[in-house]
């Protein structure tokens, strides 16, 4: 059984894989987004935009700009989709 949070994590990882060259790279919640291969702010905003479009939400700017890790992005998504 997957929990709601695991589903959100899968979604986030799916978008990360679509945006970044992550072949073979295992993604952990503690991974720092900016340290992922090729990650830069353009990719990060594209990932945020993909999530906002998919869930019909807009993240709070302050919270979005404060996100550092994969887990924090999942938390942010959880906070607006619950």
């Amino acid at each position: 059984m997957t929990t709601a949070r695991e589903k959100l994590l899968d979604t986030v990882v799916g978008h990360l894989r679509a945006e970044l060259p992550l072949d073979g790279h295992q993604i952990a919640e503690s991974d720092v987004l900016a340290d992922l291969p090729d990650a830069d702010s353009v990719h990060m905003f594209r990932i945020a935009a993909r999530l906002e479009r998919q869930f019909h939400v807009e993240f709070d700017d302050g919270s979005l700009f404060a996100v550092r890790t994969v887990g924090q992005l999942v938390d942010l998504l959880a906070s607006v989709t619950s």
């Binding site: 906002e52 939400v57 807009e58 709070d60 700017d61």
Partner: protein, 290 residues
């Protein structure tokens, strides 16, 4: 006004004016008790018609509200917009630090059978508890001038809006920074902002836009309403002159002060001041309208 003004002392100062007995305002504001600029479509438009037109314009054309939606009216005065919106089936939460204003609105709401749609919270906006509530739209009509903490006020307003929600804000402004620097301490402006209103910090439009941008809003609409304010003030002045005895009986000398305020205001518009309205939306992309 010089130096830094605490939001709490601003409210204490403005309450002196806004807690004058309601008879004073009833004698000149017109049927809707709207203490802000009307919309005069023709030379023959009356005060009541102008205020009715303005309320409709704000609700329909700017906020695009539909029945059942929720409106937050920050600095709601005697409820002109709150009651109008409730009459059209919207839920409204009005905010005012003035107790007589709150009581007046609740009484009117009961009389017109919309009390289940109208709620008025007493206090300074940023201290009123709105936790867990969200709104489709918000309005600040002639009220941000009384709030020295305008960036916090706009950030909080944005947080209370749903995604895609709109804020309508209208205010009198100095025409630009140079005129602001030169005239803010002139006797006429100090009379209006300090003697009449207790605290009012009129700024150039750019300051208000910057505050809205910093709060994270998209600015989606801007209108220049300057031409409509002198007529509003002239209509109020005529009514005040006709009600002179009644007003001075309530507060001796009030007639002369009101008339001086209206005259300074009417003279300044277009020369040192402007009256603008803008709509700010809580959305990344804004919304473009033909």
């Amino acid at each position: 006004m010089n130096g830094i003004v605490e939001p709490d002392s601003a409210v204490t100062a403005t309450n002196d004016h806004y807690e004058l007995p309601v008879e004073v305002f009833e004698s000149f504001l017109g049927r809707r008790m709207k203490y802000s600029c009307g919309l005069y479509d023709t030379p023959a438009t009356t005060l009541d018609e102008a205020q009715e037109a303005k309320l409709q314009w704000v609700l329909d054309r700017n906020l695009r509200m539909t029945p059942g939606q929720r409106l937050l009216d920050v600095g709601c005065g005697w409820g002109s917009l709150a009651l109008y919106a409730a009459e059209r089936g919207c839920h409204v939460v009005g905010i005012t630090p003035s107790r007589p204003q709150r009581e007046y609105i609740l009484r009117q709401a009961r009389e017109s059978g919309v009390d289940h749609l109208v709620d008025v919270r007493l206090g300074r906006f940023t201290t009123v508890d709105l936790d867990g509530e969200d709104f489709d739209a918000a309005s600040m009509i002639g009220s941000i001038v009384h709030m020295p903490d305008r960036e916090d006020v706009l950030a909080l307003t944005r947080r209370r809006l749903k995604t895609g929600g709109r804020l309508y804000l209208s205010e009198s402004c100095f025409r630009n920074r140079r005129i602001f620097d030169e005239y803010r301490t002139s006797p006429g402006f100090r009379f209006v902002s300090e003697d009449v209103f207790g605290f009012g910090e009129m700024v150039p439009l750019a300051e208000l836009i910057a505050a809205a941008e910093n709060a994270g809003f998209s600015i989606v609409r801007l209108a220049d309403l300057t031409a409509h304010y002198p007529r509003t003030l002239e209509d109020w002045a005529e009514r005040v002159r006709n009600a002179r005895t009644r007003i001075d009986a309530v507060r001796p000398g009030a007639t002369a002060r009101l008339l001086r305020y209206f005259e300074i205001g009417a003279t300044a518009f277009g020369y040192t001041t402007k009256h603008y309205a803008f709509v700010a939306e809580k959305s990344r992309m804004g919304r473009w309208e033909r």
